[in-house]
């Protein structure tokens, strides 16, 4: 049996694929992205993270709340993901399915895949290596899960990757357009998470090194001013926002709901073990990287990285620019060391996971270096890819993703089904407001499927103040953790006579207790948002 092809046809096919690779990738990655979103939506893991539910609620409060408005964006998290979600979160399906928050992650997932492809192309990696690099990223189960949920990781990865790519291009082309594009993407990253702020500093240093060597002091000054003006614009806006809303530009850093306040509590409890312990910080983050990327992929990435930085065929400035890929690594080590961040890895910190997803930030970097390695190891590339597929096969068959474990059994998830289920059955279709602390119980608010305007929480201003002083008038139900001073509702109501005398505890549950007003007081309750000013 014999069959033959004209070599021209093969060459044409190759050329077609080379020309249309990004379009093909776009459609392919989009399909994968949608398929996985639907998969996690159907199995109930779509909004398993407590933080995912909070992100969605914050956005929802901007458009639907007792006191809607942009002030609801708060200061706990940087605003870009919530702002983007407000475009769609008004729709109940988009809110409760989590799609409103996930859609930006999904777009970022597709974009990052294409950026990895482009990045590798600039480094001179052939089509095979480029595809492998993209697939290492795209078929990482942790990435696939996080792109399907309303978390900020993928959006941050996407913008940081875009910034790093433009930075690389600027090192290559040295054009103003590339510099401005780099500044723009870095600015967006600074509005997603504080990792972006570190990237800004990192990029600043890299631009400084490159410019001073090539153009001298005066031009360097101009380049840096131009870059920094755009790249730090978001940070300036954020500081202004904090000043305007909370009367303190650093409220986000030192306010009562800040990460700093959370870390102080953890430190007092003696579980912030990485603080001022560099080797342990390093070990913790490396373990997080390993669990997120997979150990075999991680090893290949390290080998690829070593080969890349010792490859004399690649220009020195390109290798220096690629250091930006390591920004998340350095940021997380520094944050853990300074005690600004907390990360628990099972085995290192008892039997618990918490924030292990931070290791995800390095997955695109590892994917790029794996792609590069496959390109370099021409003689054994098939074997390397076969081994990657082999390990991935078991990862997928056993659904081996730490980010899911963190959300389902780790400290990042909260199974509030019992509380929210009670609200759904007993409060959803009745009149009256629920007094609850959003800072402590956003997950309950989300899972109850009730409209946001049914809740009186810290962000409702005067309603919150009046309900705490005179609960019988406003709150038909009160949700709080009895005797927990971290729960602001309990803290404010613990000595309130109305709360003590007029309410009955109807349910004691793992995450919160439910109090209901006694029947004789129901008639005096307000069921419409009419404030007494």
């Amino acid at each position: 049996m014999q069959f033959s092809f004209d070599e021209k046809i093969v060459a044409k096919m190759k050329a077609f694929f080379e020309k249309r690779a990004k379009v093909i990738l776009f459609f392919f990655l989009s399909m994968v992205s949608i398929a996985y979103f639907l998969y996690y939506l159907s199995n109930g893991l779509g909004v398993a993270y407590n933080d995912a539910r909070s992100h969605l609620d914050i956005s929802r409060r901007v458009v639907e709340n007792l006191t809607p408005g942009f002030a609801q964006l708060g200061s706990v998290w940087l605003p870009l993901p919530h702002l983007l979600a407000t475009l769609t979160v008004w729709n109940d399906f988009m809110w409760h399915s989590g799609l409103s928050g996930a859609i930006q992650s999904m777009v970022a997932y597709v974009a990052t895949g294409i950026l990895i492809f482009s990045f590798l192309k600039i480094l001179g990696v052939g089509m095979f290596g480029r595809i492998v690099g993209v697939m290492v990223f795209a078929f990482n189960l942790n990435i696939l899960y996080m792109q399907s949920t309303a978390m900020t990781e993928l959006l941050l990865i996407g913008t940081m990757m875009a910034g790093t790519y433009q930075l690389l291009m600027w090192h290559k082309e040295e054009t103003m357009v590339r510099l401005l594009q780099a500044g723009f993407w870095v600015m967006l990253a600074t509005l997603i998470r504080y990792d972006g702020w570190f990237l800004l500093a990192f990029a600043f240093a890299l631009i400084f090194i490159h410019s001073i060597r090539k153009f001298g002091y005066k031009t360097t000054e101009g380049i840096l001013v131009l870059f920094t003006t755009l790249a730090s614009f978001g940070i300036v806006l954020w500081l202004l926002w904090n000043l305007m809303i909370f009367k303190d530009p650093l409220y986000f850093a030192f306010g009562p709901y800040s990460a700093n306040a959370q870390q102080s509590q953890l430190e007092a409890a003696g579980v912030l073990e990485t603080k001022r312990n560099l080797p342990f910080s390093l070990q913790t983050y490396i373990y997080a990287m390993i669990y997120n990327s997979g150990f075999f992929t991680f090893i290949l990435g390290i080998i690829g990285m070593a080969m890349f930085w010792f490859d004399k065929k690649i220009k020195g400035e390109m290798r220096i620019a690629a250091i930006a890929l390591m920004a998340p690594f350095f940021f997380n080590i520094v944050a853990l060391f300074l005690g600004h961040s907390v990360l628990f890895v099972q085995g290192l910190h008892g039997n618990s996971w918490f924030n292990v997803r931070y290791g995800l930030m390095m997955v695109p970097t590892i994917a790029i270096f794996v792609g590069y390695l496959v390109h370099r190891l021409k003689s054994i590339r098939i074997a390397v890819v076969a081994l990657l597929l082999f390990v991935s096969f078991f990862t997928f068959t056993n659904t081996d993703a730490v980010t899911i474990d963190d959300a389902v059994v780790g400290a990042s998830g909260k199974n509030v089904q019992e509380v929210s289920g009670w609200l759904m059955d007993n409060a959803k279709d009745k009149e009256g407001y629920v007094l609850i602390s959003a800072a402590s119980h956003d997950a309950i608010i989300f899972s109850s499927q009730m409209q946001m305007k049914r809740f009186i929480h810290e962000g409702t201003g005067e309603y919150w103040d009046q309900a705490l002083t005179n609960p019988t008038k406003w709150a038909r139900w009160i949700i709080l953790r009895t005797n927990d001073q971290n729960d602001s509702t309990f803290r404010e109501l613990q000595d309130n006579k109305q709360f003590k005398n007029n309410y009955t505890k109807v349910k004691t549950l793992p995450f919160a207790d439910i109090y209901e007003i006694k029947p004789e007081f129901v008639k005096d309750l307000r069921t419409q948002p009419t404030l007494e000013l």
Binding site: S4, F296, F394
Partner: protein
């Protein structure tokens, strides 16, 4: 010495760094050309020498190979574990045969039990006595005890059992079959190494290093599947790289299918060989602007031979478990057999333990799925265990394999033919067993699961030795590391494989209140107690010398012969291909 070192590093550097200077590049190229022409000249003149009409080179080759074979056979005979006698199932349950004897662990007991049932009881199921002997690695299904292991090992050792039985050495006879496979592996490593360009003497050293300087030694003298699996892999590779005929393809398909009956995970390790063989079924040619694929029908049909071993496998499953597609690992284990012959099942015990502790019993926890045995998250611990840990790691047990890794990196750099295939098999082996929940291999000596990988790394040792055989310091260093590895692994071979993994030893120490050793120091303590499980020691010399003396004699013998072979390699002129 300074010059030697300088030359050594220069050689290494020249291998990895291609000079940017075109003049230097030309010089490198001409050097290679000169080495090639010298080589062909020497081979040519060798052919002219003769001794009584017989080619002297051939004579030397035959003599050398015979001596090496005698040496290897002698060491294996001296180390093979056993006790004289043809034990019945009741006798087999005595400690002298079990914990204190050659059938010390359940994997060898399980396979021996199946062999015994097949050979003596003409049955696929075990009598209660035989089941008690094989426990806790015995399965219980449809009211009968059956093997928990893939069947081929038990079938293959039956001839050895009968020959041994004839001489009153039934158990020794069956173990000798494994030793024969180990011997064959040494020669296959040698043959494969020569095919990839290694010097025959270097290839012989590599074979010796595999057999006596890795945990393969401890598993060559007992009844485990590792040497048979390794044989199938090596034979498959040899057929693949040596021949290109329909017969060789049929051989490969046969080996691939048979490998599953030896040990299920072999499927993955034979996969690269099968895929590479599949590539040989199709012939691609590029001519006149066209790429032509030819698919010879006979080659395609050669795949059909797989039916024979697969039919055997399905038949065994059907006879044992009542379902041809049932894998033994997925059946309920009977961890003990009561005096009335009824089983104590694993699930019952786990549930009872959980109940006693007041823990929740999740539904379906005990449903077994083969794919669940391997989890990518375990890679970190698995790789640590296989490479670094003091109880199983390559660094502690067989550091000589580091030369194999170095040789492999060199071969990748030099794009040596077939390296991709070797890397794939080594990778599949290491990754598969690093993803397993028990990378330690239960109670074992060294990293037994990596024996196939050690065999292939040995091929690269041959490659490395060939490239650097003129550097005395390198050879000296290699010899030192190899001697250490031989010393460690001979400990395992002549004493025991009953070494708990660290995780178990720590728990055990807490229960027993005494220190439980888990490194090869446990084997040293056996020698201190004058214990050796070697049949020759037990039967012939135990009353003349101590176990320590026996061990020192055996180790010295291997080390001295290895030193002699290494010295022979050192005096081989540069570029010469066939000294023996």
């Amino acid at each position: 010495m300074k010059d030697t070192l300088k030359n050594f590093f220069k050689k290494v550097k020249n291998t990895f760094v291609k000079s940017d200077d075109p003049v230097a590049r030309r010089a490198q190229a001409s050097k290679r050309l000169y080495a090639k022409s010298t080589k062909s000249h020497k081979v040519h003149t060798e052919k002219k020498r003769s001794f009584f009409g017989v080619n002297s080179t051939k004579l030397l080759k035959i003599a050398g190979n015979t001596l090496v074979a005698l040496f290897v056979i002698m060491v294996l005979i001296l180390s093979i574990r056993g006790i004289a006698g043809n034990p019945s199932p009741t006798e087999l349950n005595r400690l002298i045969w079990k914990d204190n004897g050659p059938l010390e662990l359940s994997p060898e007991r399980g396979r021996y039990a199946l062999m015994y049932a097949l050979a003596e009881e003409k049955s696929f199921s075990f009598s209660p006595d035989l089941a008690r002997f094989a426990a806790p690695d015995v399965a219980f299904t449809d009211g009968k005890y059956v093997s928990l292991f893939a069947p081929a090992v038990s079938f293959l050792v039956i001839p050895g059992y009968f020959i041994g039985k004839y001489f009153g050495l039934a158990q020794v006879g069956s173990y000798a079959v494994i030793a024969l496979f180990a011997l064959a592996n040494l020669y296959l490593i040698r043959a494969i190494a020569i095919r990839i360009g290694a010097h025959p003497i270097a290839a012989t050293i590599a074979g010796v290093a595999f057999l006596f300087a890795t945990p393969a030694f401890a598993y060559a003298v007992t009844l485990y599947q590792h040497h048979i699996s390794t044989f199938l892999i090596l034979m498959g590779i040899y057929l693949l790289i040596r021949f290109n005929s329909i017969w060789s393809l049929m051989g490969i398909w046969l080996l691939c299918a048979l490998s599953i009956s030896v040990d299920y995970p072999n499927f993955f390790m034979m996969l690269p060989i099968g895929i590479a063989a599949l590539g040989k079924v199709f012939i691609a040619k590029r001519a006149e602007g066209k790429i032509t694929f030819t698919v010879p029908i006979l080659r395609v049909l050669s795949v059909a031979v797989m039916v024979i071993p697969l039919a055997f496998f399905l038949w065994f499953n059907s006879m044992s478990y009542g379902n041809p597609l049932q894998l033994s690992g997925t059946i309920e284990r009977a961890i003990e057999v009561r005096t009335d012959g009824s089983p104590i099942l694993e699930s019952e015990k786990i549930i009872a333990d959980k109940k006693a502790k007041g823990e929740e019993i999740p539904q379906g926890t005990y449903d077994k799925n083969v794919l669940n045995f391997f989890q990518s998250r375990l890679l970190l611990n698995g790789l640590y265990s296989h490479f670094v840990s003091p109880d199983r790691g390559l660094l502690a047990f067989t550091p000589v394999m580091l030369f194999g890794i170095a040789g492999m990196v060199w071969a990748i750099k030099k794009r040596v033919k077939h390296t991709s295939l070797f890397v794939a098999i080594i990778g599949f082996n290491i990754l598969l067993y690093s993803m397993w929940s028990d990378p330690y291999g239960g109670w074992a000596f060294g990293s037994r699961y990596l024996i196939p990988a050690y065999a292939l790394l040995a091929v690269f040792i041959a490659y490395l030795l060939t490239r650097l055989h003129k550097y005395s310091l390198f050879l000296l260093f290699f010899f030192m590391v190899m001697s250490y590895s031989v010393a460690v692994n001979t400990l395992g071979a002549v004493t025991t494989n009953r070494n708990p993994p660290m995780v178990e030893a720590v728990g055990l120490s807490e229960i027993t209140g005494r220190e439980e050793l888990y490194t090869y120091m446990r084997n040293v303590s056996q020698l201190n107690n004058n214990i050796s499980k070697s049949y020759v020691f037990e039967a012939y010399v135990a009353n003349k010398i101590t176990a320590w003396q026996y061990y020192i004699f055996l180790t010295s013998f291997i080390v001295i012969v290895s030193a002699f072979i290494l010295m022979t390699l050192r005096i081989v002129p540069k570029g010469e291909q066939h000294a023996l």
